[in-house]
Symmetry: C2
Subunit: 248 residues, 2 copies
């Protein structure tokens, strides 16, 4: 059994770096916290290292055979925690890399900036049966603590990768996938379009929507009509409405 007492330990410093985007990008890893997220990560074979507060017991049902485990002092657990009251259990996870191959239901995100929004969008896409999510260049890093918590584990249910949307769109189209943008201009009411079963949907930035250059690449742009006086819908809500339209 490996045990770490001190917050000055080199391993702890290395793990702590994963709470910042720079450290995550460099290592190709991220850190999750709490029983629910760690359990989902284990089930889906994302976990490189499991870290447990010495006062915490690993739940009986978990399969941690052949799993590298570190027990740590509460001081170390607190140092790693991004929440105020930590559950004292963490996993170091590997970021996945994937190619465009065989996905029929894809969500592309163009400049989604709010960590809570991107997390909730991932959770919503999981519920709606999406098979792949590609986060374009302008998106907030999905591996930050708040985003990961907002996914409620869905980050481990479907592959979520970073990529250049302008490269992905033609690749998807070449495989017979119809790519739908979202826009208030030059777009059709989503309820009046016969949607393709093999689709990619592009959702955009909270304030500015999908960028013009990406919209031009799409096969068809959609909008959700506003029936009252609201100026717009929240991007997570709009994503849910559109993705469930593809489920009919």
């Amino acid at each position: 059994m490996k045990f770490i007492q001190s917050v000055q330990n080199e391993k702890v410093k290395e793990w702590k770096k994963l709470t910042a985007k720079k450290g995550r990008d460099k290592a190709g890893q991220f850190i999750v916290e709490g029983f629910h997220l760690v359990e989902e990560a284990l089930k889906k074979d994302y976990v490189s290292v499991l870290i447990v507060d010495e006062h915490i017991e690993i739940p009986h049902g978990w399969n941690v055979d052949n799993q590298e485990i570190y027990h740590v002092s509460s001081a170390v657990a607190k140092a790693l925690a991004e929440t105020e009251t930590t559950q004292g259990i963490f996993a170091i996870c590997d970021q996945k890399q994937l190619d465009a191959s065989s996905y029929s239901r894809v969500l592309l995100l163009d400049g989604v900036q709010d960590p809570g929004n991107i997390g909730t969008i991932i959770r919503t896409a999981d519920a709606a049966g999406v098979e792949l999510i590609v986060c374009g260049n302008g998106c907030v890093d999905v591996y930050n603590g708040k985003s990961l918590r907002s996914t409620q584990g869905s980050i481990f249910h479907i592959p979520v990768i970073k990529g250049d949307l302008q490269e992905w769109i033609p690749k998807l189209q070449a495989q017979g996938i119809t790519v739908y943008g979202t826009s208030l201009q030059d777009a059709r009411d989503y309820r009046e379009v016969e949607l393709s079963e093999r689709y990619a949907l592009v959702m955009g930035n909270e304030g500015n929507g999908v960028s013009a250059v990406v919209l031009q690449q799409c096969n068809q742009n959609l909008y959700i009509p506003i029936l009252g006086e609201a100026e717009s819908l929240n991007v997570t809500v709009a994503t849910g409405i559109l993705l469930y339209q593809f489920c009919k």
Copy 2:
């Protein structure tokens, strides 16, 4: 022109009380902040008092004839502000009281606890053409600063009132309105139900959903199928999906 220099002024103390639920309940008023929300409040005749930082100019297009206006020092503006960088403009607004009379599209909220969620739900309901929102007893106060900001002005577009859902449901039913609950048990897939044009939809608490006693009063309970591995949908997203289903 009325001017207040000191944060110790009695008016300022009175207004400041509206940043807490107790003060709002007692006065039957609430306070909003920022150009966008204040403008919406003015348009819809909600404003009792307009409060403006002495360094801020009231926009030319605004109709503030016959409007009681206080100019205040920046110290007073900062004392009233609930945001870190205030725009220095505030409105004291009256809470509306309404009866059940003639609404055809109603949203009932049962124990929605998160201020951001309830605000986004109000915004979504506005977009989807809802005419009345009733917040049941267990809901967070919609007049707190975070909720108001999350509505992005929709709080002034449709009446949002507090009420006892167990009293409202039979009243609405007596007017021929079909009341739909949301539940994972004893419920039908929302896509397979022929929805009534005159409806009330009940959305529930983030963790526990709609309470059992309320579900029993509903005419029909609905659920949104989960196609992937997510355990549930965020309540704001679920509200959007269901409300837009009524718009078909």
